[in-house]
């Protein structure tokens, strides 16, 4: 009796399997990694993984607005609407890991715009890469992320500049424009801050300057006086570069003014601290500080429409610097979907490897931030760096 039941059940199971195999579409996925299929009324799903909590919220929220505007402008891709799943990278390794795991557990997501912070990008790009997905970061700038010997993973690209460019620009600015000869750099152990500080220090020395101290603080530290006193004792330097984030940068700026020896040192930081929140955090102590960052003097009709839409939807001028980069990142993904998707009536199939190949082959892509051409390790930016000065709570571009 039992045997009979078993045979019947097995036959039923076989029948079901056979039916489902015949009953499906004619499409056969030949992609090495696999395909994503969107049915007739299903939206195309992309994810963002940007920092939307904590002291660096401005940085990520601004980028997320860029993605949302890109979706609003695009309206549909191949007749499908676009749906955004917004995740938080927390601007930390743990946050990046968690956001990555959450995204790859959803098989309907075709591409990711993220992360904001390089520190989150390192673990997340591994997770995303292993799962066969593709990600385009609007604001990771650490050199290691596109260096195959370090943290690069297949499927990772970025529209932000590589900090090899930013660090060099800041060193040039300090030596040639300000005429200083001694400098110190402080990072917080994050891949972004460490990479940028390292490039700055190397370039500064290569151009004939002297680095008196290259040191680090911890994320979450509040009392920076011991490390600043060590910097002062080593020089004191004429120029101090600390490309860190808002909270630590605020403490460093205020306390640098109170450490003997550093009263006349010129203070400077980088794009992680160009935001209204960072301007408030440094307060009066940051008056006259210099900041390196992407050159935002974009032009063209699309950018004007973008800014108009930004102000209309979010009620303010852009609150940080990478909104245009994330707009371009999202559009790169849309362009590739359109290129590689196989249409089958109203259903579309997208191969994940095709998607990656297409993204890396991006060439001469006209974005807001310039003409983007990706190299084999995913550096797509058309990098232009400028230096701004903070006066009266406003960042004013002064160089080049």
């Amino acid at each position: 009796m039992k045997k009979k039941l078993f045979v019947i059940l097995s036959l039923l199971l076989l029948a079901v399997l056979a039916l489902s195999a015949c009953g499906g579409s004619k499409f056969e996925c030949e992609d090495e990694i696999g395909c994503v299929t969107y049915g007739p009324d299903e939206p195309i799903r992309i994810a963002s993984a940007l920092v939307i909590s904590g002291p660096n919220t401005d940085l990520g929220t601004d980028s997320q607005y860029g993605v949302e505007i890109a979706i609003a402008f695009k309206e549909t891709v191949l007749g499908h609407e676009i749906e955004l799943q917004a995740e938080d990278d927390g601007c930390s390794a743990e946050g990046g890991q968690a956001a990555g795991q959450k995204i790859v557990s959803d098989p309907t997501i075709i591409g990711v715009v993220g992360t904001s912070c390089s520190g989150a990008g390192v673990p997340m790009s591994k997770v995303i890469s292993d799962a066969g997905y593709a990600m385009v970061s609007p604001s990771n700038t650490a050199p290691s992320l596109t260096s195959p010997d370090e943290a690069w993973n297949p499927g990772y690209l970025r529209t932000a500049h590589n900090d090899k460019v930013q660090g060099k620009a800041m060193a040039e600015f300090a030596l040639n424009e300000l005429g200083v000869t001694t400098a110190a750099a402080i990072h917080d152990g994050d891949p972004y801050t460490e990479g940028l500080a390292r490039v700055f220090a190397d370039e500064f020395e290569a151009m004939g300057g002297t680095i008196v101290e290259f040191t680090a603080v911890n994320k979450g530290d509040t009392d920076m006086r011991p490390v600043l006193a060590a910097v002062a004792a080593a020089g004191p330097p004429e120029f101090l570069y600390y490309p860190v984030f808002t909270a630590e940068g605020g403490f460093l700026t205020k306390q640098a003014k109170e450490v003997s020896g550093l009263e006349d040192t010129i203070l400077s930081a980088a794009d992680g601290m160009i935001s209204s929140a960072a301007a408030e955090a440094v307060g009066e102590a940051g008056e006259g500080m210099y900041f390196s960052g992407p050159d935002l003097s974009f032009s063209g009709g699309v950018y004007e429409d973008f800014i108009a839409k930004y102000i209309e939807d979010y009620g303010s001028e852009p609150i940080s610097v990478f909104h245009a980069h994330s707009f371009d990142a999202a559009n790169m993904i849309f362009a590739c979907i359109e290129e590689v998707a196989v249409q089958d009536g109203d259903t579309i199939h997208i191969g994940r490897q095709d998607m990656r190949t297409c993204l890396y082959a991006t060439s001469g892509f006209e974005g807001i931030t310039g003409t983007l051409t990706c190299d084999e390790y995913g550096d797509c930016a058309d990098p232009k760096i400028s230096v701004s000065q903070l006066t009266g709570g406003e960042y004013t571009p002064i160089w080049p």
Binding site: S53, T57, T222, A229, A230, F251, A281, G283
Partner: protein, 353 residues
Amino acid sequence: MLQRLQNISFLDIALWALGAIIIFVVIWGTVATLIENPYPAQTWVETVVAGIAQGSLYALIAIGYTLVYGVLFMINFAHGEFFMSGIITATIFLAQPMKASGFLDAHPVISISLIAVTAILVSVGIALLTERVAYRPLRKAPRLVPLITAIGASFFWQYFFRGLYGSEVKSFPQFEALAGKASILGIPILKSHIIVIIAAVLMLIGLYFFIMKTKVGKSIRAVAENKDVAALMGINVDRAVAITFAMGSAMAGIAGVLFALVFRQVHFFMGFIPGIKAFTAAVLGGIGSVPGAALGGFLLGMFESVGPGLFLEGLGIPAPHQLKDVIAFTLLVLVLIFRPQGILGERLAVEKA
């Protein structure tokens, strides 16, 4: 004699060896640094004073951990949030508007008093609410239960205040009277550091007398000794516990104000790390002991501040200041190896532990 030797386990020997190695490395690093002598005297003075100021903040926060532990034998992980809640509220509703209107610079003493009172009231309010809602119903539960609840309460308050005030860093205005340095015995020291150290020491002495000399303090000590017997003696246990929470969180509220005076920056997450550090300080000094918490706080602040430059610089370690947390927690490990009850802690009787 042989009996005693047999009682020493392999683990004890391994721990002692670990402790000996750490101490050796510390001494070696210190000697190397002193020979190399990379810093002028002024740098050492600044570092030491910064360490004492940071240590006073740890001490004030650590008091809250130790008081609650002494009475309830629970680790109140939400204590860092009591610290944050008061000052973040006072910054937004008092300090920033007062700075904008010019009142702060015109009447600095009134302003700072108002800010301090508000911060204390909010901190105490949050603490009493947490105690009433989250801890009191669990008083008879196994000890792990309130511990986990405390972690939950900590997250709740963090994200409650994030939702309320936003997640940006908020700047606390500079008091003109406290800007710059004053000279003490010919050594220039930041005025804000002087205020923090004096205020912290006064608060700690005041609290010690409150616990040891007043009737209410006596009732708290009685409850700490044995809740059931204290209740039989006519002491209202719930009231004593509530007062304990109020005292601890008032200290945390003051610590918040002092933190803001020194660092001039507040944030919803600012309580987390000082909370962990102050807990470390409380364990270091001997949890349950008020003078122990104060001593632990000062020691921890000093080691964190002076340690990287003194112990690690000489060993040629790059970026030593990044390792200050390693020093703080290594100090804790060392103390726990050689004196598990903490520096001033008493060995707890079996029934209490």
